[in-house]
């Protein structure tokens, strides 16, 4: 069953400094099945985070449609939980207070939500930290809490916006394995935005490769690596390298094409990172 269906997504916005109309997303369509892990990958500034923000309901789309669990998206809602790069935990709430926040908003009785909160803290390896505050946790633990906070809410789809980008390389590998383990255990539907090719391939069932801005879908690459996955064995699989190389080629091709196209122009085609995120 399809959990998330994006059809003909198009986004224009007016740059607040220059006043020019910018096309962030040209034409993006793809879907995510229930219990599927799909990554969206693209060169920096391609508008992949904008796609996520539109699905989350933080940003309005210009044209097209986004349907989650059979309902058209309009504004944020608890059916779409978001894990942010900045963690976005509530500093004034304890670890447990953060995990049960969504359940509290739904009006779930205390005993029930606390039990559920603890269950999800155990799942992400934060059992025993219930009464700490977020600032007392390491960056990696904070992001695991961010994941638990969304999963406890049992959304139709979990949206993850480069969740491990601000975390050091060693911890990142560990977190990716943790996330894979959690995914293999509970099978949530995941929409994962990243610019890290290996990360996308390691985690995903399918990888949606976007082009430069105005973004469209270049290709959807299926990752049929066996699960459970762990880094130590995955990197040695020839299939893993083959898929990662394929994705890399798609990205490099696209950049080369873009460079050719803008050489005789202002050459500003590649530094659109800030502009594309400006509407976010």
């Amino acid at each position: 069953m399809t959990a998330l269906e994006i059809t003909g997504l198009h986004k224009n916005y007016v740059d607040s400094y220059s006043g020019e109309e910018v096309t962030a997303i040209g034409d993006v369509s793809f879907s995510v099945d229930e219990g599927e892990f799909v990554s969206v990958l693209g060169p920096s500034g391609c508008g992949k985070t904008t796609v996520l923000n539109i699905v989350a309901g933080f940003v309005n789309l210009t044209e097209g449609s986004v349907v989650v669990d059979g309902r058209e998206v309009g504004g944020p809602g608890p059916d779409r939980g978001v894990v942010f790069q900045s963690h976005a935990l509530f500093p004034w709430k304890t670890v447990l207070g953060n995990v049960v926040f969504g359940l509290r908003m739904k009006g779930v009785p205390r005993a029930e939500r606390d039990a559920k909160g603890k269950e999800f803290l155990e799942l992400v390896g934060l059992g025993g930290f219930e009464h700490k505050y977020p600032h007392e946790l390491s960056g990696g633990m904070q992001q695991r809490l961010g994941v638990a906070r969304v999963l406890a809410n049992e959304p139709a789809v979990m949206l993850m916006d480069e969740p491990f980008a601000s975390i050091d390389a060693q911890t990142r590998r560990k977190l990716q394995e943790d996330l894979t383990r959690i995914f293999e255990k509970r099978h949530p539907t995941v929409f994962f935005v990243t610019h890290d090719v290996d990360e996308a391939v390691f985690l995903s069932d399918r990888v949606v490769v976007l082009s430069q801005r105005p973004s469209r879908v270049r290709e959807i690459v299926t990752v049929d690596l066996p699960r459970p996955r762990e880094w130590r064995t995955a990197v040695e699989l020839p299939e893993f390298r083959a898929i990662a190389n394929r994705v890399n080629e798609l990205l490099v091709d696209d950049e080369a094409a873009q460079d050719d196209g803008t050489d005789d122009g202002s050459g500003g085609g590649n530094d659109g990172d800030g502009a594309a995120v400006a509407g976010v």
């Binding site: 933080f58 509530f90 505050y133």
Partner: protein
């Protein structure tokens, strides 16, 4: 989303009451999250109290020495002993408690009304661009006039007495608290607001769940500044519009050249402010903003 820092500095520097007047055992700008209970050991507390009291003790020593050397007549400036004697008289005659009671009651009522009105207003301004665009010019206009400048109008409206003084305390506090609450809301990272909304937080619940706690570091600053303004407004209003209270005592003493009573009243006002800061604001800050690791760098 970020606001120009100049605005904030303008309000902050206009208020001498901003922040902790003395480093209570904790040098400013080095508020690192520390282990729980670390600063609560008896030894740490003693050191903290010592740091707090030493400058005050030095002031008294300088006062003693200067008055002893210059030897001014009592109608110009009193010696430390004179002030202590005046305090003793005020205590035994019961005047102290009458004045103190009147002032504290007005302050408490004015402050409660100010907090109850200014916090929701400031948070509403912070969360709505349209509202703040509309009210910002009015707010800025009113900041310079807040408090004391309203005394003539207050006496016309409410006559001489409690109500005029309470109005002045409210008025003096309102704008500082509103302004800082508004800034506080604007400083909440947008991701936090989005996280809350994507977990189904309704507009109404946003106030208690996210906006108020998120704005708290700035709100505490607003309370400090506002309470400082409130005290000054209280004293000024009592001088003009009342027949009881510390401001009134101050003013009466001036008529009879009782510098010892004047200084005694000033000491009481200052000590009350310090107590309020140490016993109410500092613990509030410790239990919330500091506990949550939300202390602002360089504040």
């Amino acid at each position: 989303m970020t606001t120009p820092p100049t605005e904030k500095q303008a309000t902050a520097t206009a208020a001498p009451a901003k922040g902790r007047p003395w480093p209570g055992g904790r040098p400013p700008g080095r508020q690192r999250p520390r282990r729980r209970g670390g600063a609560n050991t008896p030894a740490a507390r003693a050191v903290s109290a010592l740091w707090f009291l030493t400058p005050l003790a030095l002031l008294v020593v300088v006062w003693l020495a200067v008055v002893a050397v210059v030897d001014p007549p009592l109608r110009v400036f009193p010696q430390v002993g004179d002030v202590l004697a005046a305090l003793g008289d005020m205590w035994s005659s019961g005047d102290l408690f009458d004045h103190l009671g009147a002032s504290l009651r007005r302050m408490a009522i004015g402050a409660v009304i100010a907090i109850a009105t200014a916090l929701p207003f400031g948070i509403a301004l912070g969360s709505s661009a349209a509202l703040s665009a509309f009210f910002s010019p009015l707010l800025r206009f009113s900041v310079a006039l807040a408090g004391i400048a309203w005394i003539p109008v207050a006496t016309l409206w409410f006559g001489y007495g409690d109500r005029a003084v309470i109005f002045i305390v409210w008025n003096a506090m309102f704008f500082a608290i509103t302004y800082n609450a508004m800034l506080g809301v604007r400083q909440i990272p947008i991701q936090l607001l989005r996280a809350a909304r994507s977990m189904g937080t309704t507009r109404l619940r946003m106030f208690w769940e996210v906006l108020l706690p998120g704005a708290l570091p700035s709100v505490v600053t607003g309370l400090r500044v506002g309470l400082g303004y409130g005290w000054r407004g209280l004293v000024a209003a009592e001088i003009i519009a009342s027949n009881a209270g510390l401001g009134y005592a101050l003013f009466q003493a001036q008529k009879y050249f009782q510098t010892d009573v004047i200084i005694a009243s000033m000491v009481i006002i200052g000590v009350l402010w310090l107590l309020m800061d140490r016993l109410m604001l500092a613990p509030l800050e410790k239990r919330t903003v500091e506990r949550w690791g939300m202390t602002k760098a360089g504040s």
